[in-house]
Amino acid sequence: MLDYLLRRFSLLIFMLFALSAFTFGLNYLFPGDLLTNFSGQVNTSFSQSQMLEEKYRINDNVLVQYGAFLGRLIEGDWGVSLSSGQTVFSHVTLLLPATLELCFYALFMAVLIGIPAGIITSAYHKKWPDKVISTLTLLGFSIPVFWLALLLIMVFCLGFGWFPMSGRIGLLYEIPAVTNFMLLDIWLLGFPYGGQAFVDALHHLALPTIVLAMYPTTVLTRFTRDSMLNVLEQNYIKTARAKGLNRRQIILDHALRNALLPVIKQIGLQFSTLITLAMVTEVIFSWPGVGRWLIDSIYQRDYPAIQGGLLAVSMFVIFANMLADLTHSMLDPVSRNQSHGKV
């Protein structure tokens, strides 16, 4: 196990290095002045730009520049956003929790619905529950996320007026940021406004969560179904069936555990998809998260912000994948022996 952890850890370090090198390279790839891309400062006076050149080691070779870049990354000095004039790092710490909050709830919902649905379809393979759910997942799988969001807004916000269509909470509620996770903050503050703020925040969460959960739910349903069907084909299940166990016993006592192992890994992989879909969802629901900010930064060609946003999002995706891998191997000893990158 230790050997396995060590291998994983070195892979993590390697990936983070590769990511930082890529981000560093972006400074050269982006159009515009190199120093501006690094620092986010424009129209600097001569003495200022000399100071910046010194700080960013512009006149040294690329390796020294990269070293300085890495040092700044670790210190949390990610440059200054061109459009707001504030540090990129402060933006990221403010916005990333909002995105994560949304993704967590969506993933939670996807697991809660997707896995049972997958089990039901496999249990009733080729019978009507299977057909209904499979058709539904196919529809959910094919619907563009922004189109779904618009439809839901049309019906539930504008039509029935049940849900608000933007933001994390009604703006008249003043919730000071502690962790930047809205529900957590409200809880920490002891449910201000007589609990109304909490209810309002839940209302705001509802639609974005449904929209965001749609795709991972269908993926998990399909994946669970395939995995279950695979397991149900195996000989030990046939033996169990021959012994006269009923469907319920076979599925719950024998098949489920083995079928869910690959699903757990799949849950972790969904995080990366969620983050991307979250960008679109955030734009439509005016959710003040890192995705909306990243897309705005691209419109405004705010290169330091684009860099920072990408770095934060990719780092998060790498960590999430790693975590999923670890959980998977904790539960499934066989997978530990597959070394990485080996054919």
Binding site: S83, L158, G170, L171, L172, Y193, S286, P288
Partner: protein, 551 residues
């Protein structure tokens, strides 16, 4: 399907009442004894959906209308103001004023007992006095003022109307009397002092920031005398103001005023429909129908002094050639624009001045004539056309509710005469900044007046100084034109001023640095329970008197 959808949209109440009424009434009876307390703790407040982030919290340093709308009348007061109906000067922080015989000395008597905001970052120890007035104005032109060079000494409005060149000094007569001494008499000075830009800042607060070496925070964490005080600002999200408890004028301002920053037009209207906004700025004409169909929403409409135009960068070839500019002007189908962009809610421009201005005179405007346009182009030496950029402002303002669409119409018209256009868009504040650096070939923009004085349409927009401050979108500096403007300002005689402005208007059409397109009508949508949000014919939005009634 379509009809059902629109029905659902316009009349959602019908769908929900019979579904939800029993449930709701049950709920209400169940917690009827708790409800009033909860209502009290959910603060009284108003949400205003605004179209852009404020660039600063000091109106002196910007001319961006979307910013002025948010900050000027809410956080600050001016010495005097202009009555929107009678167009006469009204006392604000100054109770009386007097102009000397030669017009070179103006004395203001200041109101006593005016309190500045008391916030978590600053507590004032004294009320407003002459020092505050002197500080606020001397910052604009006095290089010895400790704040003059903060933010690159850029005061675009005052510099483009030449106010910084006009004031010799400001004298403190006593604690509540100040005297402005001028180099020359100028007819528009009082109306410039009455604009939203000429606000009174706190000198005590400025010195406090300076002593902490935090001058850069002075304009971003404001202290003023207005009905609301600054609480916080989250970029792309919200601006929060609280009630100023000791406001000198009245005490019925709402507890909280929140600006919901919503760039997208459609989203703003949708938020109005879902009641997430109480008031919405600039609903676009296409959406008025959906709004006015609702009983709980009122759409206000007001005539406004403004002009939407298409400006050429006259320093950049080929736009330095007046023939090219004329060719472009003649290639546009203005009727189509009025119909497709303004939906009949606008007046086609006959000059740069709107017809409601007293100096207005109708000009011979260019008409849609592709043949003539082609002839001009050939004469200018471009028979095969050329390529150009067309910058379209990304937000909806009175003078141009949908610049993107207008740009597409122009793009297709220009293709007829062989000119290929690329439409350029940026986030609003970046857009203004880049236009200021004259990066564009041509731009769709506009101007909304801050005062009823006609000079407000010329000096801040097309003078040579406006070129240097980056507020002249045509990058057009013509000494003859500037002379006309100065002559008009130097006299107090109305008929003479009118004559000079007529010449200036004719010259603009002759030289065509910009093509005036239309004068928009100002719209605002508000909940039927919102009162006191009055639209004004000029200047920014004022929410000082706004109140929220029962639903």
């Amino acid at each position: 399907m379509v009809t059902a959808m629109t029905d659902l949209l316009t009349n959602p109440k019908r769908y929900i009442t019979h579904l939800w009424l029993p449930a709701i009434s049950l709920f209400v009876t169940a917690c009827s004894d708790v409800k009033p307390v909860e209502n009290a703790s959910k603060t009284q407040g108003i949400v205003y959906c605004a179209e852009a982030n404020p660039v600063s919290f000091n109106p002196q340093v910007t001319t961006t209308g979307s910013t002025i709308d948010i900050i000027a009348n809410q956080l600050y007061n001016s010495l005097i103001s202009i009555d929107p109906v009678t167009a006469e000067f009204k006392p604000e922080l100054a109770t009386q004023w007097h102009i000397s015989e030669d017009g070179k000395k103006i004395t203001f008597k200041l109101r006593e007992g005016v309190e500045f905001h008391s916030t978590d970052y600053f507590t004032p120890t004294r009320t407003m006095n002459a020092d505050d007035v002197i500080f606020s104005f001397s910052r604009l032109f006095d290089v010895y003022n400790p704040y003059h060079f903060v933010h690159d000494a850029s005061y675009p409005y005052f510099q483009s109307v030449g106010m910084d060149q006009l004031i010799r000094k400001i004298v403190k007569v006593d604690n509540h009397t100040v005297r402005f001494e001028l180099f020359s008499a100028e007819s528009s000075l009082l109306s410039n002092i009455a604009t939203d830009f000429a606000v009174i800042l706190s000198e005590e607060y400025a010195m406090h920031r300076a002593s902490q070496d935090q001058k850069h925070l002075f304009d971003n964490m404001p202290i003023g005398t207005g009905p609301y005080k600054y609480k916080n600002f989250l970029r792309d999200n919200l601006v929060r103001f609280h009630k100023h408890e000791n406001y000198w004028k009245h005490d019925y301002a709402v507890d909280q005023l929140v600006y919901d920053i919503t760039t997208n037009n459609t989203t703003r209207i949708a938020k109005m429909l879902t009641k997430e906004c109480d008031i919405t700025s600039h609903p676009s004409a296409t959406q008025l129908e959906a709004l006015s169909a609702r009983k709980d929403i009122v759409v206000d409409k007001a005539v406004n002094l403004n002009v939407g135009y298409w400006a050429f960068n006259t320093e950049k070839p080929p736009f330095n050639n007046v023939l090219v500019r004329k060719a472009l002007a003649h290639s546009i189908d203005f009727d189509k624009i009025m119909q497709a962009v303004f939906y009949g809610n606008g007046i086609a421009a006959k000059s740069i001045l709107p017809p409601s201005s007293w100096a207005f005179s109708a000009q011979q405007m260019p008409v849609y004539d592709p043949e003539k346009a082609k002839a001009y182009l050939t004469e200018a030496g471009f028979p095969n056309g050329f390529e150009m950029t067309l910058w379209a402002m990304p937000v909806s303002r009175i003078y141009n509710p949908n610049a993107r669409k207008m740009a597409e119409l122009i793009q297709s018209d220009l293709r007829q005469i062989g000119i290929r256009t690329r439409i350029v868009e940026f986030e609003w504040n970046t857009f203004i900044e880049r236009i200021g650096r004259h990066e564009h070939d041509s731009v769709l923009l506009g101007w909304a007046a801050d005062t009823p004085d006609p000079d407000n349409f010329f000096s801040p927009l097309l003078s040579c100084t406006a070129t240097f401050t980056g507020k002249n979108p045509a990058n057009w500096c013509n000494p003859e034109f500037d002379l006309l403007l100065t002559q008009a300002l130097d006299t107090n005689e109305l008929s003479m001023r009118k004559k000079y402005y007529l010449q200036a208007q004719a010259m603009l059409i002759e030289e065509m640095p910009l093509v005036p397109i239309a004068h928009g009508v100002r719209f605002q949508a508000r909940g039927a329970n919102i009162e006191g949000a009055q639209l004004r014919p000029f200047g920014g939005v004022s929410l000082a008197n706004v109140r929220k009634g029962e639903q």
